[in-house]
């Protein structure tokens, strides 16, 4: 009885409070962590991007929400020169920057903002290159932009030209990434004049659907709808990030109606969410792949037949059950199915320990002992590497291969696994940056990556020729064909055992409408409504 009375009182209290704010629509996102800052170009974490690039900023091109397709953003259109070295963008006119209590813009978005946003990252002598302690422009560097980009030039107020050092088809996709968010040069100038440059990372001004109001560290971030947003004003009035790191607590808050959205529900809670009439649980395959990379430079793993035999001994279904608990899908290709050019015609290696054992004997390999490296951290593409390694250990034991499982601290693991003469096969994975197949195939399997991100240390001429050709071709149909062929070569040569792609679940209240799961893992609320 007391419970019911209290609940009623709370409901009434909430109702009056809501009434007090003139029926403003407030959407509460129970975010999984605190943003590191609000200048997305300084960081690489999705949590930070949700709070900055996905809500406050726009880019020249935008990924269509829910896909890896590229749409016009702050640029209305673009042209690529015949040699593939010059990209000319026509900018959208009449785009307004946010007007807040800490900044009022006097002009619309124009070419100066674009040039400023990139040159601050590119030019080491730029006044903003080191604007706050330890500025590293990590993603800009990680995508090799300093090597790729020669200059960014203003042609007129609404035309900008990007000049490259070499043709690179994935360039357009790079410009849709978080680091390529367009910041206001006028705001930056004001901050510089006031001697408060580091505020660019604390109090953002962008052109995005939401304007920043306040951040209470580790607790709450508040945004308001940007009334003059160029795509049209968002349907919700206030966007609130309630930072809630523990997944069980997020679930409770969602159930209690304290928030509308839980970005990362616990696998254990999925059934309860499905059965709750107040909640919904959309799902999508993640833009990632988890793999076991052999060291193809070390015998007997330099023999494709040995690798193929081991692949046939991996029971992927057992891994999906034991490690992913239903939140994964077996991987047959090195790129996830949400990426264009995914070759669905390829058949996966069958799980067949007997055939695998025979193949090993044919290759002249007996009494094989090997190491498998298990990552010390949880990742979407591998929620429990230790467990995964154990499953593979028992699978390999069935074909007479003895496995020793090793692990290191994460930074050390990443470093040591790069060694060309590394002993053992490495469990690792990758989450896509820009939705371009090149971002998987060239980064993870290209010859340039040997001794680096190519953990299989695999350099195959046939494969390399295909991906290099695709890199400099701007025709998407032709690129698709080349990548499909590259996947055939990959499957035949088997530098990895492709294990799984994660399946992403988002838990939300029934009244949430218009949310689409974005393959990049971002949470984008500009089209969201509450009914």
């Amino acid at each position: 009885m007391f419970a019911r009375k209290t609940a009623l009182a709370v409901a009434l209290l909430a109702a009056t409070a809501f009434a007090g704010t003139a029926s403003a629509k407030t959407f509460v996102h129970c975010s999984e962590g605190s943003p590191e800052g609000f200048d997305p170009a300084l960081y690489t974490a999705g949590t930070t991007f949700d709070a900055s690039s996905n809500s406050v900023y726009n880019r020249l091109v935008e990924f269509e929400v829910g896909t890896t397709n590229i749409d016009p953003g702050l640029a209305e259109s673009w042209e690529v020169s015949d040699d593939g070295l010059e990209y000319t963008f026509k900018l959208r006119q009449g785009v307004k920057f946010h007007s807040t209590d800490y900044f009022t813009p006097t002009r619309d978005f124009n070419a100066d903002d674009v040039v400023f946003s990139f040159m601050r990252q590119l030019k080491k002598d730029h006044a903003w290159h080191q604007y706050t302690a330890g500025t590293a422009w990590e993603y800009f560097n990680g995508m090799s932009m300093p090597d790729l980009l020669k200059s960014v030039e203003k042609v007129d107020d609404y035309t900008v030209k990007f000049v490259l050092n070499r043709p690179e088809a994935p360039m357009i996709a790079n410009l849709g990434m978080d680091f390529a968010s367009i910041v206001s040069k006028e705001y930056a100038d004001k901050l510089a004049a006031d001697g408060k440059m580091e505020d660019l990372n604390q109090k953002p001004i962008g052109t995005g659907a939401f304007k920043f109001v306040a951040y209470q560290k580790d607790a709450v971030i508040r945004y308001k709808a940007h009334d003059d947003y160029w795509e049209g004003r968002p349907k919700i009035d206030d966007l609130v990030f309630a930072i809630t790191t523990d997944p069980s607590v997020r679930h409770q808050r969602l159930k209690a109606g304290e928030c509308h959205f839980n970005p990362y529900p616990n696998p254990a809670d999925l059934d309860a969410i499905r059965n709750d009439p107040d909640l919904q649980l959309p799902e999508q395959e993640g833009l990632n792949v988890g793999y076991l990379a052999y060291n193809t430079k070390v015998a007997p793993f330099d023999n494709a037949k040995v690798r193929k035999a081991l692949n046939m001994a991996v029971n992927k279904q057992a891994i999906l059950d034991a490690v992913f608990q239903g939140a994964g899908k077996a991987a047959k290709n090195p790129i996830p199915p949400t990426i264009w050019s995914y070759n669905d015609a390829i058949e996966d290696d069958p799980y067949d320990p007997d055939a695998a054992k025979k193949m090993l004997e044919e290759a002249g390999v007996t009494d094989l002992k090997m190491k498998i490296w298990a990552m010390p951290v949880q990742r979407p593409y591998n929620p429990n590497a230790r467990r995964m390694a154990e499953v593979i250990q028992s699978d390999f034991a069935k074909i007479g291969v003895e496995v020793e499982i090793v692990s290191y601290e994460w930074g050390e693991y990443l470093k040591r696994s790069k060694d060309v003469d590394r002993d053992g096969a490495v469990l690792l994975g990758w989450t896509g940056d820009n939705g371009d197949p090149d971002n998987f195939l060239a980064v993870l399997l290209g010859c340039d990556g040997v001794g680096g991100s190519n953990r299989a240390q695999w350099c195959n001429k046939e494969f390399e020729d295909l991906i290099q050709k695709a890199k400099v071709t701007s025709d998407v149909a032709e690129r698709t064909r080349l990548y499909e062929e590259a996947q055939v070569v990959f499957k035949r040569e088997a530098p990895w055992a492709t294990i799984a792609h994660s399946v992403v679940f988002k838990a939300m209240r029934k009244e949430v409408e218009g949310f689409k799961i974005h393959p990049f893992g971002s949470h984008i609320f500009k089209y969201v409504d509450l009914k």
Binding site: A3, G142, V220, K255, G411, L414
Partner: protein, 336 residues
């Protein structure tokens, strides 16, 4: 008294130096390179790696780094966070009020319940009350905080709907922090219902964080009281016909309080350790959660700054406890 105080403060200086070394060394003893962790799976070239190490000053000899750090500390500069790029000092004081508010509530809760329970259990030794208090205290002491917190949330917030799940105040209320203590700020804001909301958010975390100290205080009070109650002067006091309240409250309790105050002082460290878990469960934006996050990111300046600040606070609390001893018990103050 002054000499006593000065002696105590003098002892703090070597402790402080030791703490700076420990805080500085501890995080560096952990394997892991902050630059590599920042880059993640994407990795970075050796040149870029060296460039970033240089930028952060991590390429210099360790003693030089320590010396710079010490000079900074003495000038009140704890450096900037590698992650947020903001001064560590500022970060600490943004978050500390949240931990302070929760810890004060928890220690009040622990003393308010633990002290009387311990006294009564001692006076009624062997009674049903004694047994039930002591077994409850044992359960409370062995309770894993994380589990207790989730259990409370599921029961009181989920099932019964009596308390909010987590956070410091309902999201409907929004005002600029003045003191950082949410209850005080809510009062200052003048928004109707804000104080009530802040208080209701404090209930569960207070109980969860206060449970272990409460159990410890109850047990300590009981055993200290039992010892004192057997003393001759208590028998004398009883024999000369003083009312039991006076015997227990004045003669026994005052003498039993020394070990209890020591225990309460030591609980400050326990509270800060417990705060790490409690803050995580209740999405409480305090320093415990911040330090854990900083450790996993190898954010050296934040970790060493945060640990140092906590150590200083514990040292100051213990100093206060020492002074309190003197007030409670003149024998200590006059010791050589």
């Amino acid at each position: 008294m002054l000499a006593f105080l000065l002696r105590r403060i003098g002892l703090l200086i070597p402790t402080f130096i030791g703490v700076t070394i420990a805080a500085f060394g501890f995080i560096r003893l952990l394997p892991g390179d902050p630059v590599l962790l920042m880059a993640g799976e994407r990795g970075l070239t050796p040149e870029r790696h060296a460039e970033l190490l240089k930028q952060f000053g991590f390429d210099r000899p360790i003693y030089e780094q320590y010396f710079d750090y010490l000079v900074g500390v003495l000038q009140g500069d704890l450096g900037n966070s590698l992650v947020t790029k903001k001064p560590v000092f500022e970060e600490f004081f943004t978050l500390f009020p949240a931990t302070l508010e929760l810890s004060i509530c928890a220690i009040i809760f622990a003393i308010a319940l633990g002290l009387p329970a311990g006294i009564i259990a001692a006076v009624k030794r062997g009674s049903v009350f004694d047994h039930s208090v002591m077994s409850t205290a044992l359960v409370g002491y062995s309770m894993p905080i994380f589990w207790l917190g989730l259990l409370f949330i599921m029961l009181f917030s989920g099932l019964l709907g009596w308390t909010p799940v987590s956070g410091r105040i309902s999201l409907l209320y929004f005002f600029e922090p003045v003191t950082g203590l949410m209850t005080v700020d809510a009062f200052l804001s003048g928004q109707p219902g804000a104080v009530r909301s802040a208080l209701s958010h404090l209930i569960l975390p207070t109980i969860v964080l206060g449970t272990i100290p409460m159990a410890v205080i109850a047990r300590q009070t009981r055993s200290a009281m039992l010892e004192v109650l057997g003393e001759d002067y208590v028998r004398t006091a009883k024999a000369k016909g003083l009312p039991p309240v006076r015997v227990i409250g004045l003669h026994a309790l005052r003498n039993a309080l020394i070990p209890v105050i020591t225990t309460i002082g030591l609980q400050v460290g326990v509270l800060l350790a417990g705060a790490i878990l409690t803050e995580t469960i209740f999405s409480w934006p305090g320093i415990g959660k911040w330090i854990v996050d900083s450790i996993s990111r190898r954010d050296y300046p934040s970790v060493q700054g945060g640990l140092l600040m906590i150590a200083v606070i514990v040292m100051l609390v213990n100093l206060t406890v020492d002074v309190l001893y003197g007030l409670v018990n003149p024998r200590i103050r006059h010791q050589r």
